[in-house]
């Protein structure tokens, strides 16, 4: 091994602390080579090692009777019956998407798709949780619009070409995401239970095979980039962002699934963050074996690449697999058919080490387990969660209800996202029973005759006011979304987007959000089977709101969905869960406070998990019994916004509310555990609601063309649907221009 001079500067450039460096020296029993230093730096980066979050992640529930595979693999897996399983996971691609929005988002989609099919599952759905800075900000609006446009086209480019439907998600705008957009991508795939593959090397002497794209210099140190704050120099990191080729990934998908069918593959892992380094040492570590590779055999698209560059490249669309010795040809034949490179680059050894050679000389030799699993763990100090918002409500001006509703419906967070999702192919594979715009997306599983529902939810504003309560609310909302379409929530995946964990007030946000999420996931019986943590979402010292995003999947029978929209006039309108209650403190995180009052204060809406669970049980029963002609849950914007959304099919409602709340609180508070239903069987619904111990007042009746809301006979507001819908539908497109 070449003796490189490892200086303190070089160590710092690799974002390793002196203590971490000493640990490396202790593990190796010597100074590392330059290549070894690079390998340790990516494996021990925050992005790959979860060194700040891991001890807290252990607080999350991960087991359940349907869970086949929990955290630690490329994706979580749950049993959906009929001999089939689904694999699903969410990942962030925040940092690359800021530096190069189109490729950053595109490769985010590519990365999560590989995580799914590396487990043997064919991807059948993608969803995206997106957050950007405000589009109308005088200083940053132009850049934010460019990032939004780039991210959306990048997702469309990759997903549409690959042939996976993008069926839902969320898109939120806040100033705190100005320098730090969030791009979280969720993917879900299906396979037979006995066809699941794991990323585990086994069988001493078995060949290690590299397949897919050639290795270039792109994406070197991407994982470390995602583990640091942004500064003015970050734009120079553009070469760190990888370039995606969805066509190649599509070929890789088909070839991998076909090769798996040969029975000659022992284990397989994609090359994502930290590329060849991560895939070799993790597969070796999981199998308790060593892996030896010769870099001269790695397909390369550039000449003169150093071992350091080859090991750290994050070139996309590559996989590493271990095959049964003697059956390599069966694997090669499949990849040849699909026109892909497949090359034996090494073999499994018995010494537990990752040994990397170039021109026959050893350039790195590191114990796999220490490299992959023994990164330093930090119990970072955490104090009080950062919050600059006051607890006290300001004195609220007297409300002007009628103009407030169209103002909310044209705001970035609440307006129609059609401009975004029409750019996505949300139907390919002909399984989309309910797509974008529905409370939860529904994908039928052709193989089993059942369907899977899924929803992605996060709420940075709530979490900023209280990370613990906000995280619980996100889980509750996601479960409610599933229940509203008749699905039983089964399991979850999470993406934790936070600022710099080395600041105790940020670390506190992370700890509290994880604990809140854990409490709610335990309560709703939705174990977390995997996910991703994205820290250092800060630019020039300004952090994002704490933004945990949860993706929950559920099962339901395959039937035509009721949908959210009122279909016929003359139906009873029921507010399952009742009008709820809210005080001024709990009003400070609402969209009304944001859009109309332009303030943020107090606490998030109050969640009573027991009440939430009863409402969810009731709505599932109502929907499954076919008693709801439409069902839509209340969330951002509260009752008035939900009612408007129900009316966009052009059937509206006249409702009268029995409540003492101030009109602005009554119409726009965001108390959870509520669902709006239209029905021709109100008596049957009353029976079900009573059985579950919840209120279900009939608040009105559906009518043609307009919405009218009164309180105890006094009119609060009337709106013509056509005008409201025009505002709602055109808003985003006009913001983007």
């Amino acid at each position: 091994m070449s003796a490189a001079t490892i200086t303190p500067d070089l160590i710092a450039q690799h974002q390793l602390t002196p203590d971490e460096y000493q640990k490396i020296v202790d593990i190796l029993g010597r100074e590392p080579s330059y290549t070894e230093l690079g390998i340790f730096s990516v494996m021990w980066s925050e992005h790959c090692s979860y060194k700040s979050s891991r001890i807290h992640l252990k607080k999350l529930p991960t087991r359940g009777k349907l869970v086949v595979q929990g955290p630690g693999e490329n994706a979580g897996i749950i049993d959906i019956g009929g001999g089939y399983v689904i694999a699903f996971k969410i990942e962030s691609h925040n940092h690359p998407s800021f530096i190069e929005p189109f490729q950053g988002a595109a490769t985010g989609v590519g990365g999560i798709l590989r995580d799914i099919f590396t487990m043997g599952a064919r991807p059948i759905a993608v969803m995206d949780s997106l957050r950007f800075g405000r589009l109308d900000d005088p200083a940053t609006g132009a850049r934010n619009r460019r990032i939004l446009g780039g991210v959306v086209s990048g997702i469309a480019h990759y997903g549409n070409c690959f042939g996976v439907p993008t069926v839902g998600g969320e898109c939120i705008f806040e100033s705190c995401y100005d320098g730090n957009p969030l791009v979280n991508v969720f993917a879900l795939g299906v396979c037979r239970k006995e066809d699941v593959f794991y990323a585990k090397a086994a069988g001493i002497g078995n060949p290690v095979i590299y397949v897919g794209a050639r290795t270039g210099r792109d994406g070197i140190h991407g994982a470390s980039m995602a583990s640091a704050e942004f500064t003015e120099e970050s734009k120079q990191k553009r070469p760190n962002v990888q370039v995606g080729d969805p066509f190649l990934e599509k070929l890789l998908l088909e070839a991998c699934l076909e090769a798996m069918q040969t029975g000659a593959i022992v284990g397989i892992q994609d090359m994502g963050a930290a590329g060849l380094t991560c895939s070799t040492c993790e597969m070796g570590s999981r199998g308790g074996v060593g892996i030896e590779i010769e870099l001269d055999r790695v397909p390369q698209r550039e000449t003169g690449m150093t071992p350091y560059e080859i090991m750290l490249s994050e070139s996309q669309e590559r996989m590493l697999l271990v095959a049964d010795k003697g059956r390599e040809e069966e694997v090669f034949r499949v990849f040849r058919k699909w026109g892909l490179d497949a090359v034996e680059i090494g073999s499994v050894t018995g010494d537990g080490k990752l040994r990397v050679k170039q021109h026959g000389r050893v350039v790195a030799e590191i114990p796999n387990r220490e490299l992959a699993d023994e990164a330093p763990l930090y119990n970072r100090p955490h104090s009080q969660s950062l919050r600059r918002a006051p607890l006290e409500a300001p004195s609220l001006p007297s409300p002007n209800i009628e103009p407030a509703l169209p103002a909310l419906l044209t705001s970035g967070d609440l307006c129609s996202k059609r401009w975004i999702w029409e750019q996505y192919d949300y139907q390919v594979r002909t399984n989309t029973v309910a797509g974008p715009g529905a409370d939860a997306a529904i994908i039928r599983i052709k193989e089993t005759g059942t369907s899977v529902a899924m929803s992605l939810d996060g709420n940075g504003r709530y979490c900023y006011l209280s990370p613990r309560e906000g995280a619980r609310l996100a889980v509750a909302e996601s479960c409610r979304n599933l229940s509203t379409v008749g699905a039983q929530p089964m399991a979850a995946t999470n993406c934790l987007n936070f600022g710099n964990p080395e600041r105790p007030e940020i670390m506190a946000q992370l700890v509290e959000a994880i604990e809140g999420m854990g409490e709610a996931c335990r309560f709703f019986d939705t174990p977390i089977t995997g996910g991703n943590v994205s820290l250092y979402n800060e630019t020039l010292g300004e952090g994002i709101y704490p933004t945990p995003v949860i993706g929950i999947v559920g099962l339901l029978p395959t039937v035509p969905p009721a949908g959210a929209v009122f279909r016929n006039p003359g139906r009873s309108v029921i507010l399952l869960g009742g009008v709820g209650s809210c005080d001024e403190t709990r009003f400070g995180g609402t969209q009304y406070a944001k859009v109309i009052l332009k303030q943020l204060w107090g606490l998030p809406p109050a969640l009573y998990m027991d009440q939430e669970k009863r409402v969810e049980s009731a709505i599932r029963e109502i929907v499954r019994d076919g008693l709801a002609e439409s069902a839509h849950d209340l969330s951002d914007g509260g009752l008035a916004v939900a009612l408007a959304e129900c009316a966009f099919g052009s059937v509206g409602a006249r409702i009268d509310l029995d409540s003492d709340l101030r009109p602005d609180l009554l119409l726009f508070h965001e108390g959870p555990s509520r669902v709006l239903i239209s029905t021709s069987s109100p008596e049957k619904i009353a029976v079900i609601a009573a059985k579950h111990g919840i209120d279900a007042p009939v608040v009105g009746v559906t009518i043609e063309k307009e919405i009218a809301i009164s309180r105890r006979g006094t009119m609060l507001g009337r709106w013509e649907i056509a005008a409201l819908r025009a505002h709602y539908e055109q808003a985003l497109e006009s913001h983007v221009r």
Binding site: S153, N160, F162, K250, L251, E422, R429
Partner: protein, 222 residues
């Protein structure tokens, strides 16, 4: 009746075409690999949607050179019905089996949306079961679906009654609202909307079945 679904590297609606023909109308279906020199004993050929060979050049520009296209050409020359959907339409145009070109959508963006269509003619094996006064709901999903041809060609298509489908509300700037066209011999049709995605009520519409049922009724009569 037996449908052959061509699979190019990058085709991604091949499974959907297979499913629609084998499940929705309960006929036989089989995949035909792009490298195949023959089509076997199929009664009709479908070129499915997707991004054949990645479509990094013009859409369909590389697919037209694949080996299977020679067999498809011969099949069509012998009168066999050939249906190109979306990317399949683009390939048929690039291969010169249909006139015109498909260029970037007027709005420059990919559009996935259900649209209304009217059959321009019922005199074809793909539309003979259609009613000219009915609006058929089918989805589109494309970035390059704007149908373009010289006026002379468009006049000729109209004079020869070769416009298979027209958009009710033109989504992409296609000239004369054209969504699908027929070859001169009327046995080759390309259309941008996806009939195979509108083959079950569960998917939101079963109006796309009209294309497959037309083919079936011709096959039964033959």
């Amino acid at each position: 009746m037996k449908f052959g679904v061509i699979v190019f590297p990058g085709s991604n609606c091949d499974h959907d075409a297979f499913y629609a023909t084998s499940h929705a109308i309960s006929q036989q279906a089989e995949y035909i690999w792009h490298d195949s020199a023959t089509l076997g004993d199929v009664d009709a050929v479908i070129l499915p949607g997707g991004f054949a060979y990645g479509d990094y050049l013009r859409c369909g520009a590389i697919a037209k050179f694949s080996r299977v296209m020679k067999a498809v050409r011969n099949f069509a020359a012998e009168g066999g019905p050939v249906l190109g959907v979306c990317n399949g339409f683009q390939i048929l145009v690039e291969a010169g089996m249909l006139p015109g070109a498909l260029i970037r959508n007027r709005g420059l963006k990919f559009i996935c949306r259900e649209v209304g269509l009217r059959a321009g003619t019922t005199d074809s094996p793909f539309t003979c079961a259609a009613h000219k006064d009915r609006v058929y709901r089918m989805p589109i999903a494309h970035g390059e679906g704007c149908y373009f041809a010289e006026d002379r060609t468009l006049d000729e298509l109209e004079a020869e009654d070769r416009i298979a489908f027209r958009y009710v509300d033109n989504p992409n700037g296609s000239l004369r609202d054209i969504a699908g066209v027929l070859s001169r011999e009327r046995n080759v049709m390309g259309m941008m909307p996806h009939p195979e995605r509108a083959a079950e009520v569960l998917m939101g519409s079963s109006d796309g079945l009209v294309v497959f049922q037309s083919l079936l009724s011709v096959a039964v009569r033959a």
